[in-house]
């Protein structure tokens, strides 16, 4: 008995005349990974890129704050939670472990994964894409995926320098940082605005299953927190 | 100097249902400086058979059309869908027959939908005639999407004094005619043409124009059933100033 795998592949290979047509073009494509057409929109100077990123994110109902650097993060978080009438508690990713929250003693900060009871999480984006105001998160021990989705409010922290013009630039950086090793984490999440649905009479509602609020905090300074 | 010749493929619907459109087309082509001939060997382009999957009969009909029209300098069709059949689909029919394919392609190359032909050959910017009316234009699907007809009729109409064109939001949406579709799936066709009529109503136009008699009969049929006074005409009739022919679905005199 032939295995379904061999049966399916056999059918494909004979339909494609594989014996006489080696897949050279495909081999080359996987090796060279040519980029397609990249829209002009995101290709401005860094300052324009940053402005475009913020504008596009706000267009899809995210809120955006720019602060000078990581030292100002606790104050911004406390301000945001107070302004939106939320309890001063958050589940923070390990990737933000270096932040000194002591300037905001009212803020209760815990680590770990989201457990369904949390109101707010804070995690760190690996990159941003100005083209569509998209955040890119990588899963890992210091940035659990569930933090991006389970609590109703999500605060995303991103360095200004990590905001690229297009998706391709973020993929290139991901590969480069892996230094030739395996580069895909278990999960890469592109997030473009807060969760939404229009499944009931095409009425747009925010906060379907993922966060109802997405607050993006851009760190202007290059120093890591 | 002898005038270049145009074989007028009048289409079966115009031939049988509305000769006025054919006369208007002939007059416009003549006015543009061409000699019009109407081969008596024409019946239909074969589209109903083609769209029903009956390729064999379509091929036979196509051969007849090719033979009757290949001697002219140009072939002009007052219909986007029949024009599309000659231009786009005839060559596809003969993929396995090189000799006929070459003939089909050579016919396709010199075949034009009426407004396309006039826009290219009747180069005059003066106002042709006067027709005081608020009109809207229905872009029939094959003309629009197979032949790219959109600006041509509008530019020609802009030379008609007193005619104002109000665009419907859904001008590019199908009217639901679809050839045999309108009788095979009459219920659905009726729903689609009702939406088309609602869009026409919104424009407030008194006259609906288009380049395909099938669509126009469908739209007129629905308008008349609803008791609307809105008139429907083929664009050629307005361009030729043919006021004496009653609008589609209207009684004589």
């Amino acid at each position: 008995m032939t295995l379904p795998r061999d049966q399916i592949l056999g059918r494909l290979k004979s339909a494609l005349d594989r014996e006489n047509r080696p897949p050279e073009a495909a081999r080359a494509r996987l090796r060279d990974r040519p980029a397609g057409l990249i829209p002009e929109r995101g290709q401005g100077a860094p300052a324009d890129r940053l402005a475009l990123f913020a504008a596009e994110a706000e267009r899809v109902e995210a809120t955006v704050a720019r602060i000078p650097g990581p030292a100002a993060l606790p104050r911004e978080v406390a301000r945001y939670l107070a302004e939106t009438n939320q309890p001063p508690a958050l589940r923070a990713a390990q990737s933000l472990a270096d932040v000194d929250w002591s300037s905001q003693p009212m803020l209760k900060v815990t680590g770990g994964t989201a457990d369904g009871a949390d109101n707010c999480s804070i995690s760190r984006a690996f990159g941003g894409v100005a083209e569509t105001g998209t955040l890119v998160f990588l899963s890992g021990p210091d940035n659990p995926t569930t933090l991006n989705f389970v609590p109703p409010t999500h605060i995303a922290v991103i360095r200004a320098a990590d905001i690229a013009g297009d998706y391709e630039a973020v993929w290139a950086r991901l590969r480069a940082e892996a230094g030739g090793g395996a580069y895909m984490p278990r999960t890469v999440n592109w997030v473009t605005g807060p969760s939404r649905t229009a499944d009931i009479e095409q009425t747009l509602l925010l906060g379907a299953h993922g966060p109802q609020r997405l607050h993006i905090v851009i760190l202007d300074d290059d120093a890591t927190p | 100097m002898t005038q270049p010749s145009v074989g007028l493929f009048v289409t079966c619907l115009v031939d049988l249902m509305r000769p006025a459109t054919g006369f208007a087309a002939a007059e416009l082509i003549e006015a543009a400086g061409f000699r019009v001939e109407v081969p008596a060997a024409q019946t239909c382009c074969g589209q109903p058979a083609y769209n029903s999957g009956n390729t064999e009969d379509t091929r036979a009909i196509a051969k007849q059309v090719i033979a009757a029209f290949e001697g002219f300098d140009y072939v002009v069709v007052p219909s986007g869908s029949c024009g599309g059949t000659l231009r786009k689909h005839y060559p596809e029919l003969f993929a396995a027959d090189a000799a006929w394919q070459a003939r089909a392609e050579s016919l396709a190359d010199k075949t034009f939908e009426l407004t396309q032909f006039l826009q290219e050959h009747a180069k005059s910017n003066e106002k042709l005639l006067a027709w005081e009316v608020a009109a809207t234009y229905h872009d029939s699907c094959s003309g629009l999407r197979e032949l790219g007809i959109k600006g041509q009729p509008r530019e020609l109409l802009s030379k008609v004094d007193g005619l104002s064109l109000i665009e419907g939001q859904e001008a590019e949406t199908c009217c639901g005619f679809g050839g045999l579709f309108c009788v095979k799936y009459g219920d659905i066709s009726e729903e689609i043409v009702s939406a088309k009529v609602a869009d026409i109503d919104k424009t407030g136009a008194d006259l609906v124009l288009g380049g395909d008699l099938g669509c126009l009969m469908n739209i007129a049929g629905r308008l008349k059933r609803l008791g609307r006074p809105t008139e429907v005409r083929h664009v050629a009739e307005v361009l030729a100033g043919m006021r004496d022919a009653p609008a589609i679905g209207e009684p004589d005199g």
Binding site: I8, L9, A15, L16, A25, A26, R29, L30, P39, G116, E131, T132, S139, G140, P144, F149, M184, P185, R186, T187, V188, N189, W190, T192, S195, D199, I200, E201, Q202, A208, H209, G210 | V10, L16, P19, F23, A40, T43, N51, T55, Q64, C141, R145, C174, G178, G179, C182, V183, K184, Y185, D187, I188, E190, I192, A195, A220, G221, R225, P251, D252
Partner: protein
Amino acid sequence: MDSTTRQFKDNARGALDDAQLQNALDKLGRGFPLKRLEAAARLPEFERLRDQAREIKNHVLDNLDFYLEAFEAKVEAAGGQVHWCADADAARRTIGEICKAAGAKTVTKSKSMIGEEIAINDYLENEGIEPIETDLGEYIIQLRREPPSHIIAPAIHLSMGQVEETFRESHADLDPDRALDEPRKLLEEARTRLRDRFLGADVGLTGANMLIAETGSNVLVTNEGNADLTYSLPRVHIVIASLEKIVPTLEDASTILRVLARSATGQEMSVYTTFCTGVRRPGDLDGPEEYHVVLLDNGRSKLLGTESHEMLRCIRCGACLNHCPVYRSVGGHAYGWVYSGPMGAVLIPGLIGMDEAAHLPNASTLCGRCEQVCPMRIPLPRMLRAWRHKLYESRRTGALGRWALEGWAWLARRPRLYRLIMGLGVAGLGMLGRRRGRFRRLPLAGGWTGGRDLPAPEGDTFIQQWHKGARGDASGERLRRRGR
């Protein structure tokens, strides 16, 4: 799922008489197409990106075997497993076995059209495993035990009142006097209800918008975030995908993503686009411990090189449904099976058979709007015609229609006889109809005159008139008539 495609005409009649459905369809017709247009206008490169997306998929189809093998190797390297399934039955059994091996009692699901195609929910229920749809629209129609009516907006046919009714019935443990009179309240109730189900599920079952050969990843696109809770919380993640979903690289996926949401909902990008690769990594605090890709053929490998070949480029965006005058008149359920609209009319005959689906390729005006908006530029009208040809050749076209068509074609090939018979016909009709200018009723024309008058012919045919007078005279007379 059992099909009711044979009853397409009756289904359509019912849909046309359903005022509530017509309301929903009107809204759809005004919404999505306009938003798509706006999104396209905001991106000057949109048309060129469509060309590139088409080229990527064409290249994939030329190398489908190569990319699938490369994908499988990458999945295995990331600790996952690929299960090749020839048909729906094999896929169902494979999923059932994985669930049983995991000791699963509940399976959360994010929307998957392949899941619908193989009717996985019915199968799991029969096996004693509870499938829970988590996309809000899918959740609603699962409670109502209905199939989706749109490939990206499954509950588009329902009104808020119907959803309220369903929730009151299905959530019978809640206070019967609670207010559910606005969409927000319905969403809150579903969200709360599903929260515990997410946290308690043993297996998460998702579809895939794409599979990536370079990395062994599956791509998931949602707006709600339900897919992300589906794969990240349970211990086992199963992906069901058909084999044409493969793309070569992350770059290629990015290009296709640039046209997907814009074509579908008119968004620049959907809210959540996720790339899942294998199992949770050492040190990860969350993510699944098992990763299975159930790769479904279900007849697709046989389409390579046939008239339906280009259909394998489809990325299931729904643009062809949103722009189709027939879909917009009757909605998705009339089509009688999982898919609908132009893409459904092309796919369904191949999946459930021409006898069952004979209506679908015919129930189209061939207006070409679908091809115009398809991000992958699939020539849907040409493919519908190809099915019509097959139906005709295999004598599945109705006998009366065939007879009429062939009789007419016979006549059309004999111009003199045609002229004689048609001339008499229109002269008669012209005489009968000229006084009113139209007919309200005509024998054998019921399809037309049900809702439309039939404009009457003028009387003499154009060709008779043209050839009666000398050409020059005729034109002179016309000019005189005009001056009159």
